[in-house]
């Protein structure tokens, strides 16, 4: 988008772009993976030390092709010794996820192509998560969840996060909410694996050092029957983010910065690998925010190398053995981008494109009608903790309606139980109430994508909204003429307090 050129010029100065087909110089975290496939989870010890183990080809007995992480994952999944970008390979899928919007169509294709009596390839590898159009009276939307349920019963699907009682989500212990966050919380995201989902933000799971991407119903129908998918190996763009993260920045600022830099098609057909000291310092939810939005740059997938943070998060969540992989020191990257994160400022994406970047403070005269905090990108526990931090720091009330939609039931519980650091034991929900926000809603995709007319917080009129979601296309949250400013939870909360797009430093410093 041309507008991103002028905007945030200062921020761009902190950024150096080296476009070259370089042999990788800095191997961020080079680990020796365990020898056998799917062996014990590899316990990596020295994450911080750049162990660049010399790897003479002779030492392994065979000449190895240097590969990026994404290439390696796909090589394993297709049982190939080496792969090059551009090759098309059939890969074995570890997990297939679908939801209420694309599941019924996927099931329809599966039945048509494989027969009414066909069985899915593996009942334990299919994860079905109703999350999009749940709390609505729309009959077809309700029917679609019924279709999922019937199919899961018939196929004895192991992981189906059902909801039957729409009047009270808490009466549905199995119900989770937004699929990408549920996948992570329920332990379905594991390093080194291939996860496909009928949702473009499936790339979210790349935060775990796995290959994860969105596919359509037809491809998903194929996977349901065979467990295989035909994938083209993407070249990898590497983003090196170094420097200490300033206390007013969140991962959302980083990814909006990157998308603004490379545009909404800057990574089309490509993998985006995030490395560097800043990335290593991010918690899992922040890494998810980063990977969640690679599709907004056209990316096929995003990856963050797995490390202690990853392994810690996974403890107790999965009993499946996994094996992380890492880019080789000599791997070839399509291009390298470098950021000094310590010099970046809070940014927003102005309507109507995620790459329409501007500094938050440049938009301080933009009057807003509402704030929305929710979705897979911006509705996780850490996102709400961040918003609460701003409200707490200001001690004031919001000036515009502020809608809170926790991504999952677990997030909702966290809002009502976790003490916010520095608050003297208050929970997020208490702080939100004191600030005059709307009561946290039932967990689901909510108004992130508009949805049926009666969806909570849907923009049914042309309004201006600051949102922690991931897309600001025309009509995305409902009304075609609605204007959406994408922002971090810090910036969203700060904007709620003033009624204008606001740099969170106004409250946090």
């Amino acid at each position: 988008m041309s507008s991103s050129v002028s905007a945030a010029a200062k921020a761009s100065a902190a950024f150096a772009h080296k476009k070259e087909l370089a042999a990788a110089a800095p191997a961020p975290t080079q680990h020796r993976a365990g020898s056998g496939r799917r062996s014990k989870p590899c316990r990596v010890r020295a994450v911080a030390s750049p162990a660049r183990a010399p790897r003479a080809p002779a030492s392994t007995g065979s000449v190895k092709t240097a590969m990026t992480m994404t290439e390696k994952i796909l090589a394993r999944a297709s049982e190939r010794a080496g792969l090059e970008p551009g090759e098309n390979v059939w890969v074995d899928v570890d997990v297939l996820m679908t939801h209420d919007v694309c599941g019924p169509g996927t099931i329809g294709i599966f039945k048509k192509e494989f027969g009414e009596d066909a069985k899915v390839w593996d009942r334990e590898k299919v994860v079905i998560i109703p999350d999009h159009y749940i709390f609505t009276n729309d009959e077809r939307a309700n029917r679609n969840v019924d279709i999922l349920r019937d199919f899961c019963m018939e196929q004895n699907i192991k992981y189906f996060y059902d909801i039957k009682d729409l009047s009270n989500f808490k009466a549905n212990p199995d119900y989770k909410g937004v699929c990408h966050v549920a996948l992570a919380q329920e332990g379905h995201c594991r390093p080194g694996e291939v996860l496909l989902g009928t949702d473009s933000h499936t790339c979210n799971a790349g935060a775990f050092g796995q290959f994860a991407t969105g596919i359509g119903n037809t491809d998903a129908g194929f996977v349901l029957g065979t467990g295989k998918a035909l994938l083209k190996v993407p070249p990898t763009i590497r983003f090196v983010l170094d420097g200490e993260m300033p206390p007013y920045l969140l991962a959302k600022d980083l990814i909006l910065q990157i998308i603004g830099e490379i545009s909404v098609s800057g990574a089309t057909y490509k993998s985006m690998e995030f490395v560097g000291s800043t990335i290593e310092s991010l918690n899992m939810e922040e890494r998810m925010t980063l990977c969640n939005m690679v599709v907004e740059a056209g990316g096929k997938n995003g990856v963050v190398p797995a490390d202690e943070t990853t392994f810690k998060y996974l403890e107790g969540k999965t009993s499946v053995d996994y094996e992380p992989v890492y880019s080789d020191a000599q791997a070839r990257f399509f291009s390298d981008y470098r950021f000094d994160v310590s010099k970046l400022e809070p940014v927003v994406a102005k309507p109507h494109s995620p790459d329409n970047r501007a500094l938050a403070r440049e938009c301080k005269d933009v009057k807003i009608d509402r704030v929305y905090i929710g979705s897979c990108t911006g509705g996780k526990t850490e996102d709400f903790l961040a918003a609460a931090k701003v409200f707490l720091a200001s001690g004031k009330k919001v000036k515009v309606p502020t809608f809170l939609v926790p991504a999952t039931q677990k997030v909702w519980m966290d809002l009502y139980s976790l003490p916010v650091p520095g608050s003297g034991g208050k929970t997020c929900s208490q702080i939100f109430e004191e600030a005059g926000c709307d009561t946290p809603a039932s967990p689901s995709c909510g108004a992130c994508l508009g949805g049926p007319r009666d969806t909570y917080a849907r923009m049914n009129e042309p309004m201006v909204c600051v949102s922690t979601t991931n897309r600001n296309f025309p009509g995305r949250m409902g009304h075609k003429e609605g204007q959406i400013y994408l922002a971090s939870p810090y910036t969203a909360a700060a904007s709620a307090l003033t009624g204008y797009v606001t740099d969170p430093r106004d409250f946090l410093m």
Binding site: D199, G216, L230, V264, K300, L449, G450, R453, K480
Partner: protein, 247 residues
């Protein structure tokens, strides 16, 4: 694609490849494909993506699409192609499939696009071909997007470039032919309502109204899948899954 198309025979065994019903308006389209295929299924699926020529093996597609063109700009995302409120429609159900067609491009801002793609009250469009700018189909993975365009009766999209998932879904479903322009800018020179011909054999888009011609890029990697008629047909053809009859 790693494997070049080998056997040609299996195409015939896949009844799923039958085309949609005859076009409503005689003017709209004529493809070699439609004239050769058996109209078995009521609606749906890969019909025209399997030009008759494909039965001959590896020869590239020689389909011709002719009709009026609908022109859109850069970065047309899937919310504009099919707004989320209509995603409750399930594409694999025939009546809902047709309904999806009636909502094709319903998300385009009316100010910028005063002419609707599908007239109010209609299920199909008069435009056989869509011309677009860069990054067509960006956004969500909703297969409803290519399906809506195909269900409305569009046969081909000619854009400067595509977002990955839309392109993939077009190929996998066979709903519309996703073609790329060799040079940028055609969408600025074409106007909605111009009469065009897309000639795949000669890789060219001809605008009869303006008298201009535009080169198309070769279909590339997706060729074998498109020629086979979608991902299922391709997988059967290459022996990845059993043929329909045996399944």
């Amino acid at each position: 694609m790693a494997a070049a198309p080998t056997a040609a025979a299996t195409v015939a065994s896949t009844a799923v490849l039958a085309p949609r019903p005859a076009p409503t308006s005689a003017f709209l389209r004529r493809t070699q494909a439609t004239s050769h295929r058996h109209p078995i299924l009521k609606c749906r699926r890969a019909g025209t993506l399997t030009p008759a020529a494909a039965a001959g093996g590896s020869s590239p597609s020689s389909a011709v699409f002719h009709g009026e063109v609908f022109v859109v700009g850069d970065n047309i995302d899937t919310d504009q192609i099919i707004p989320a409120e209509h995603l409750t429609l399930v594409p694999s159900k025939p009546d809902e499939y047709r309904k999806l067609g009636s909502f094709a491009f319903a998300g385009l801002p009316t100010a910028a696009y005063p002419t609707p793609f599908v007239d109010p009250g209609e299920e199909s469009t008069r435009y056989a071909v869509i011309v677009g700018g860069a990054n067509f189909g960006c956004g969500s993975s909703r297969e409803h997007a290519p399906v809506a365009l195909g269900a409305a009766g569009a046969r081909a999209v000619v854009a400067e470039s595509y977002a990955r998932i839309f392109f993939r879904n077009s190929v996998a479903t066979g709903e519309v032919y996703p073609l790329e322009l060799h040079d940028a800018g055609a969408w600025k020179e074409c106007k909605t309502g111009d009469v065009v011909t897309v000639d795949l054999g000669n890789s060219v888009l001809i605008n009869h109204t303006s008298g201009k011609e535009y080169k198309l890029k070769p279909i590339g990697d997706a060729g074998p899948v498109i020629e086979a008629g979608g991902i299922f047909a391709y997988a059967r053809k290459t022996g990845m899954i059993a043929s329909k009859a045996a399944a």
